[in-house]
Subunit: 187 residues, 2 copies
């Protein structure tokens, strides 16, 4: 017999996606997004859901481009910080000391220190309610050579990506508890 | 310096979602979906991407309902099987011996043996290419009491959800390698 938990946004694993974009004046921004995933195989596409009030939404609508960067567990504090502060108030790259690198195929930055980045071109938006889905075509995937296996694919054990638990607002890495969300990034 | 891997659908962690539905004649079906995630907070909504040729797509369009069930790692063989065989040819519940239970709020079955189930009402579809996104409102989340923590939320370490690696077609559980995808389910 299962217990009803009500109308909740609980799904495992939810990802820890750092969505990067440029403002109109070229300032790089980064935002932590847990609502998203791959949306299509051909064209290869990713969907992320963002509130329209976010700086990231404004940037992506302006530039028609973004990247989705995957932090390894050792950057979980920076990743959480990207979710608790607005790019309207702070230059998040300056605060964290992480390095924005202009993507090769789209006008958006990716994070040099993170092991994986998806370069995306805006395809369409889908209005849903509190959040609007932004769907982007994946025009290139970039990876640190150190995380690649013998066949040239990312090795999840070398990459150490993080998992977000929306129920308890926690992050997991290697399925071990890392830190509480909305707290580590405030430090 | 990052290495370009080209246009690929690689994102970590990708989920292992078992989407369940009823055919018009009431036959329950289950399908393994890795392209999906939470899409909106209010209304709480989940997005899954499915090819329109799938039995699951036909069922959801008919019933306007589905569930998203999360298998624990010990059911990874059954989960993989749900991804390698079509509901047009087999009754997948009969083959696996898993138990379909009619959801309380929508006309779709969930899997009794899996620890978590989201009951969903069809909101809209988004045509993307090879896959069509199916967006559903989460009208209830159901969990086994054995996986709940003291505050009534699912405990990821008790639940042992699986992670899909789209690059190498592998599943991970607790970030340890479980089994190769598109193989375990064929046995």
């Amino acid at each position: 017999m299962k217990k009803s938990l009500g109308k909740k946004t609980i799904l495992f694993p939810s990802p820890v996606l750092i969505v990067c974009s440029y403002a109109a004046d070229g300032t790089p921004n980064a935002m932590n997004v847990a609502w998203g995933g791959i949306a299509c195989s051909e064209p290869p596409a990713v969907a992320i859901s963002v509130r329209e009030t976010r700086k990231t939404f404004e940037n992506i609508m302006t530039q028609k481009a973004f990247t989705v960067c995957i932090p390894s567990a050792k950057y979980i504090k920076e990743a959480d910080y990207f979710g608790v502060v607005s790019g309207k108030n702070e230059n998040k790259f300056k605060t964290t000391g992480l390095t924005p690198v202009k993507a090769d195929h789209v006008n958006a930055p990716y994070i040099k220190e993170f092991p994986l980045a998806l370069e995306c071109r805006l395809l369409q938006t889908v209005t849903l309610g509190s959040h609007t889905q932004i769907i982007g075509e994946i025009v290139d995937v970039k990876a640190d050579e150190t995380i690649l296996n013998a066949k040239g694919f990312p090795d999840i054990e070398k990459m150490q990506p993080c998992v977000f638990d929306p129920g308890t607002s926690s992050y997991y890495g290697s399925a071990k508890f890392l830190t509480q969300a909305f707290q580590a990034g405030k430090k």
